[in-house]
């Protein structure tokens, strides 16, 4: 291509898109970005409506079989007090998750989050086996919205203990 032809073509391109070819490329990239974000939004919204937007099912829903079949799902609730048993190999843990109405037995092999504790929130992902035991592949701790300093918590626990003792004494 001769210089003359290139200059003419450049001038034509500039005439069609104000700012020149570079600006047109920049604008094209922004349109691509815009479409990508729009597509991401639509995908996320449709996904939320499609699969259930609920992050986990309660033990009651599991017991009443209101859970998906054939695929993994999550069960959430509280770790039932006194239900945590660790296997002698140290890596496997058994516990029950409760919503105070029903409980589901869970077995999990792996590292538990620091905040995993009895009478605290938990969300387990996995599948229910043929014995009704939930074979978990992931266990997350769910914490509440309370933020308390240790001394304040200790004082609250003391007061609670004293009230309970008083009630028993009566």
């Amino acid at each position: 291509m001769s210089d003359g032809q290139e200059i003419t073509q450049g001038a034509e391109a500039a005439a069609v898109s104000p700012g020149g070819i570079k600006a047109r490329h920049k604008r094209f990239l922004w349109i691509v970005f815009g479409l990508a974000f729009f597509a991401a939004i639509v995908a996320l919204v449709l996904n939320a409506f499609g699969s259930s937007i609920t992050y986990f099912y309660s033990p009651t829903e599991v017991v009443q079989d209101k859970v998906p079949h054939g695929r993994a799902f999550r069960v959430g609730g509280m770790v039932e007090g006194g239900s945590v048993v660790r296997d002698s190999n140290g890596l496997t843990v058994y516990f029950r998750v409760t919503d105070t109405a029903e409980t589901v037995a869970v077995v999990y092999t792996g590292i538990l989050p620091d905040l995993f504790a009895e009478e605290k929130g938990v969300v387990a992902q996995g599948k229910l086996d043929e014995y009704g035991v939930f074979q978990a592949t992931q266990v997350l701790a769910k914490h509440d919205e309370n933020y308390v300093a240790p001394e304040v918590q200790a004082a609250l626990d003391e007061a609670h203990k004293n009230r309970a003792a008083q009630t028993l004494a009566q």
Binding site: R27, W30, Y55, A141, E145, Y147, V152
Partner: protein, 248 residues
């Protein structure tokens, strides 16, 4: 009636400059106080120990991400409805700061989630809708850059802003309407479930983030005013624009 005087860019430009300066100073002072409280004075949480301290950035950023979007939607509605130049410029100036606040909320949330829940991310209703908010902001910014004519961009961005505003109450109510990994609100009308000192630190940081967002937005607004009205008489009369003549 005198308030309407500031409806013209020419009148609001110098006021915006003064406000930006004051808000920046306030933001800096409050940030120092907030960080001292949050990182030093406030006690540990009985459950989360020190890891909860991320709350002093996460919550202010999250609140600002939602608040700024609503304000942006408001000015977009004003611009579409009343066709005033300044309303459109106000909406335009907010998007980048809103996107930043959303990004900070998501990033700090992930770093808080790992040591507490055990995961950096979960596709629950709260986190997914906040991520959608980020994409909405970025989409509005992309649209703004893709459309040459400012007035056409105003309309397109305005429509997207208004369509997306329904997401904000969804983000807020998500933890109540659906089962989520994310916990509920610690600050509710009339009741808080957070230690007094921790609450104080959080509120100081909320105001710090608010003043910062205002300052950044107002500086951007002034830039936008100059960009869009570069040839106008009021711009030519500005001291900082006239200055150049001395150098010539």
């Amino acid at each position: 009636m005198s308030g309407f005087k500031y409806a013209a860019p020419a009148q609001f430009y110098p006021l915006a400059g003064k406000m930006a300066l004051w808000f920046a100073v306030l933001a800096a002072v409050l940030t120092v106080i907030g960080l001292v409280i949050g990182l030093y004075i406030a006690p540990i949480d009985v459950t989360q120990k020190d890891s909860y301290r991320i709350i002093f950035i996460h919550v202010p950023a999250a609140w600002m991400s939602m608040f700024l979007y609503v304000v942006m939607a408001f000015w977009s509605a004003m611009a579409l409805g009343m066709n005033t130049r300044l309303s459109a410029m106000m909406a335009q100036s907010i998007a980048p700061t809103g996107a930043l606040m959303t990004a900070i909320a998501l990033w700090t949330g992930a770093l808080w989630g790992k040591p507490t829940w055990g995961t950096y991310w979960a596709w629950d209703a709260r986190m997914t809708s906040e991520l959608i908010l980020l994409f909405l902001y970025l989409g509005i910014i992309a649209l703004r850059n893709a459309i040459d004519d400012p007035r056409r961009a105003d309309k397109a961005c305005g429509v997207l802003a208004l369509v997306g505003v329904v997401n904000v109450p969804i983000i807020y109510m998500s933890v109540r309407w659906w089962n989520t990994l994310h916990q509920g609100a610690s600050i509710k009308l009339g009741k808080t479930s957070i230690d007094d000192i921790m609450l104080a630190g959080m509120l100081v940081m909320v105001f710090a983030f608010w003043f910062y967002s205002m300052a950044a937005t107002l500086v951007r607004l002034r830039a936008i005013m100059l960009e869009r009205e570069a040839g106008a008489a009021w711009v030519a009369r500005l001291e900082e624009v006239k200055e150049v003549r001395k150098e010539q």
